[in-house]
């Protein structure tokens, strides 16, 4: 094996060839078939380049050109975990489930390691996020080791669960590709608070497959707060059945590059999907939120509000596609994205995209880009509030407006804390 082959897509393919007999589920033919299929797709497409429409504004070259080793050994010994955001917490270290660090006692349902329960995932895994769907999904499918497997029975109120992902810096670049499978039975409810922290030169490439059954509600709060050395590329596929709700709120603030890609499909009448978030970046960072929403059934509603704050020479992207199928009459769709640029050098690319094939729909979208309002800033300063503090007040107000849509109080508090922490880290930088 030459050194050159170890970088980029070729490096990952080589790794797959070398590891495939040892990966999770290696004795299960269906898993092997899935991985092999994914490898074919990934070999054909590689990492997406900016010539691909959905990646026009986000350059994956720094990922594609790097060489990532896998975290082959289990990290032993003490790991300092962040303060919990919920009583029940499933902890993953470098993408592997750590029951010894998790607190799952008394949970109303089973929160398990996917690697250890792959047998029950047959027919489910890869059904929503198909191996060929996206190159990053193919990469994940080819190399996933573990992930969170939740299967909430009908009618169960699961309360709150935190999914914590931490990495321990092994001192060399590494990649991990968690695969999370989350299923809510009819009428079930769950608030999942996801926290991603970690350090080191790493690629965190999680894929979620989420199925919300009839009348079920999943509230999914995400805090992507890894350090500035980390590449975070996450892809979510969610389906929402009749009368069900999927509520996603993502705070992306920390990694060098964050891609928060969500594919949601409303597949039964009166289903609802809320995708909201706040993404922040400072000098040298890049944040990208890309949503694709399928209104594939009548009388469904969707709400999207995304806020972006950029400082220094940061780059931000928002792409939001809403596809209203011919059958989806009485669709109620709304999308808003707003960006606040704190410097002359910051740049946002914003691309709303509506495709409507039904005739009786209500669908609106809007986008704003601006600097801090000079009148507001002067008003605060004229009251004796120093400039830096006045700016902080206005940025927080801008971001908090997005969080107000979150009704679950524990989650809202955690999200607000994540926003404020980002702003504090900026210090005088903005």
């Amino acid at each position: 094996m030459t050194a050159a082959a170890q970088t980029g897509a070729a490096g990952f393919l080589a790794r797959y060839e070398g590891l495939k007999d040892h990966l999770a589920g290696a004795r299960k033919p269906w898993v092997n078939a899935l991985r092999a299929d994914a490898a074919v797709h990934f070999a054909a497409r590689g990492f997406p380049t900016r010539r691909v429409e959905q990646w026009k504004y986000t350059d994956l070259a720094p990922v594609a050109q790097a060489s990532f080793a896998e975290p082959l050994t289990m990290v032993e010994g003490a790991i300092t975990l962040p303060e919990p955001n919920a009583r029940h917490r499933a902890v993953f270290v470098d993408g592997r489930f750590r029951p010894d660090l998790s607190s799952l006692e008394g949970l109303a349902f089973a929160a398990r390691s996917l690697a250890q329960h792959l047998g029950e995932a047959e027919g489910l895994l890869g059904s929503l996020a198909r191996p060929g769907a996206e190159p990053l999904v193919a990469l994940n499918t080819m190399l996933f080791e573990d992930g969170l497997f939740l299967d909430l029975p009908e009618g169960v109120d699961g309360g709150l669960l935190e999914l914590l992902s931490v990495t321990v810096d092994p001192g060399r670049p590494f990649a991990f590709h968690p695969r999370h499978l989350i299923r809510l039975g009819a009428g079930a409810r769950l608030t999942l608070i996801e926290t991603a922290t970690g350090r080191g030169q790493c690629l965190h490439n999680p894929v979620f497959e989420i199925a919300v059954a009839e009348g079920a509600t999943l509230t999914h709060g995400r805090m992507l707060q890894e350090e500035v050395t980390v590449f975070h590329l996450s892809t979510i596929y969610a389906t929402i059945a009749a009368g069900g709700t999927y509520d996603n709120f993502t705070v992306a603030a920390g990694p060098r590059l964050t891609r928060n890609e969500i594919h949601a499909a409303l597949i039964g009448p009166k289903a609802a999907c809320h995708m909201n978030g706040a993404q922040m970046a400072a000098d040298g960072q890049h944040v990208d939120t890309t949503t694709a929403l399928e209104h594939a059934a009548p009388e469904c509603s969707s709400r999207q509000t995304y806020k972006t704050v950029l400082a220094g020479r940061a780059r931000g992207v928002f792409q939001g596609r809403i596809h209203v199928h011919r059958i989806a009459q009485k669709t109620d769709g709304y999308q808003m994205n707003q960006a606040l640029l704190l410097s002359e050098e910051a740049e946002i690319d914003s691309k709303p995209q509506l495709e409507i094939y039904a005739d009786d729909v209500k669908c609106s979208h809007g986008a704003t880009v601006g600097a801090l309002d000079a009148d507001s800033l002067f008003y605060l300063r004229s009251r004796g509030i120093p400039e830096r503090e006045a700016k902080a007040i206005l940025v927080e107000a801008f971001l908090h407006e997005a969080v107000e849509t979150v009704t679950e109080e524990t989650l809202r508090t955690a999200l607000t804390r994540a926003l404020d922490a980002w702003w504090k880290r900026q210090g005088a930088g903005a």
Binding site: F378, R381, R383
Partner: protein
């Protein structure tokens, strides 16, 4: 107290103030009256330090200090307050948080102890009662959804909390009905005393029936064309600015 000498200023390269001389001694309330476009608001913004209002000549001293080199927040901490003609709405910023942050920023700048939430609330409720403001105005966003009168009252509330040495009231009477006008005037009058001065900028004489000034100045075309006692306001009301300007 406030001493303005030969002040000239421009906005976007256009001269607006063309040589203002004005002195407001400690404990006095002066009114500045003038037609639209005479430079009244420009003067208030120049004094408060707003960006884009460029001073091209002259001096302004406040308690002996040159304020033109100071940042807006430094002027505020030094005791200067501007009640805005058009108070700014700040969605997402709670009024209580805003008021307490402002008060504590000024106290901190002056080396005084900061008020905790309880101390602040007690003080704010007391002052709001005097201004007949409903308590829920503390919980709402700053000026968000406030009526014109509520916004002006919120300005006066800020003044009574911050207790400036000099208050500049920029057309605080505009948009107020007579009851609100009286309440606002009472708020200002309650502050009058040997340590408080005010510059009341207004288009109409009406407000000066309730806040009786020690001196009245007429500003036309960026200059003070006449000064006199409170009776000058009545003369302006009766004869109009043109006649007063012609007589000057």
């Amino acid at each position: 107290m406030l001493k303005i000498e030969g002040l000239t200023a421009e906005v976007e390269g256009k001269p607006i103030l063309k040589g203002i001389d004005l002195e407001v001694p400690t404990g006095e309330v002066h009114a500045i009256m003038g037609p639209n476009g005479s430079g009244k608001s420009t003067l208030s913004y120049v004094l408060a330090g707003r960006e884009g209002y460029e001073v091209t000549g002259g001096t302004v001293t406040f308690n002996g200090r040159d304020i033109l080199t100071m940042e807006p927040e430094e002027r505020a901490a030094a005791g200067l307050f501007l009640a805005f003609q058009y108070p700014v709405e700040l969605p997402g910023v709670g009024n209580a948080t805003f008021l307490r942050t402002a008060l504590n920023a000024q106290r901190k700048a002056r080396g005084e102890s900061e008020l905790d939430a309880m101390q602040f609330l007690k003080l704010a409720r007391e002052r709001m009662k005097v201004l007949a403001m409903p308590e829920d105005m503390l919980k709402r966003g700053v000026n968000v959804g406030f009526s014109g009168g509520e916004k002006k009252r919120n300005e006066i509330l800020q003044m009574t909390l911050l207790r400036p040495a000099l208050a500049i009231l920029d057309e605080t009477d505009s948009g107020l009905d007579i009851d609100a006008l009286k309440i606002v005037a009472d708020g200002v009058n309650a502050m009058r005393g040997p340590d408080f001065s005010a510059l009341v900028i207004t288009h109409y004489q009406r407000l000066l029936d309730y806040i009786v000034p020690d001196r009245v100045h007429v500003l036309v075309g960026g200059r003070i064309v006449r000064s006199g006692g409170p009776e000058l306001a009545k003369e302006l009301e009766a004869q109009g600015y043109a006649a007063v300007q012609a007589a000057a």
